[in-house]
């Protein structure tokens, strides 16, 4: 299941020489059972093709909760992909790391192509919120886009 990227402007007509702040939002919902089906059909090949080494290791350590965990990670990446507004290329997908934090929600770390894309869009940080229920995982990603308009003093 996927929902469209939303982009909202909080200051659509900035004065000359002032920075413009826009907010980009991506949201995704992933059904846990779909992950279970993929694990049954393709096993470790599915995991290693779609997820990073840390996530593969987590699944090996915790096989009983693998589907729910991976559903959250899949939803998180899809939400970030929507913030970046790309064609869901797996090449970019693998350049999005969702890094577990001890006490807070996972952090988004972009590398290589995803980082270049974010830089080109004026995105310096993407905030993520994840939620799990028994059958679904959902993620919301939010980023401020800062662009400075050209011009002289106001």
């Amino acid at each position: 299941m996927s929902l469209a990227l939303a982009s909202a402007s909080t200051n659509s007509t900035p004065p000359r020489g002032r920075s413009e702040s826009r907010t980009r939002v991506g949201v995704d919902v992933q059904v846990v059972d779909e992950i279970t089906v993929s694990l049954a059909a393709f096993g470790e090949r599915y995991v290693s093709r779609v997820f990073n080494a840390e996530e593969v290791a987590h699944v090996r350590r915790h096989p009983s909760t693998a589907a729910s965990y991976l559903a959250g990670r899949f939803a998180a990446r899809e939400a970030v992909i929507k913030v970046l507004g790309v064609d869901s290329a797996l090449a970019v997908w693998r350049d999005i790391d969702i890094v577990a934090q001890p006490t807070t929600t996972p952090r988004v770390v972009l590398i290589d192509s995803a980082l270049e894309l974010a830089n080109s869009l004026g995105i310096t940080e993407i905030l993520l919120s994840l939620s799990h229920a028994r059958h679904v995982a959902t993620a919301v990603a939010v980023a401020d886009v800062i662009s400075t308009s050209a011009g002289g003093s106001p």
Partner: protein, 86 residues
């Protein structure tokens, strides 16, 4: 012997999780507009690799590759998959 398009349709039937029957779609119809999700497209990719004994390079792992039966067939041909001889 089934054609490449027939084999693609069988993969979509088994792994595409489409809300509509694949038989109701034409080769050029947009699969995403007809309910193919990002996650299901990953399953379709893996099943196509098994069916045709190929591996999709990263550069082809984008939404447009799996946009339609015709688009998938075109990509498979570019990867060296040959249409079966009748």
């Amino acid at each position: 012997m089934s054609s490449t398009s027939d084999s693609i349709r069988q993969v979509l039937e088994s792994h595409g999780q489409l809300p509509v029957g694949i038989s109701t779609l034409r080769n050029g119809d947009d699969l995403y507009q007809n309910g193919l999700t990002s996650h299901a497209s990953v399953n379709v990719m893996l099943a196509l690799e098994d069916t045709f004994n190929i591996e999709f390079p990263d550069s082809m792992l984008r939404k447009s590759t799996f946009q339609s039966v015709a688009a998938i067939a075109e990509v498979l041909i570019s990867l060296g998959v040959e249409e079966p001889q009748h």
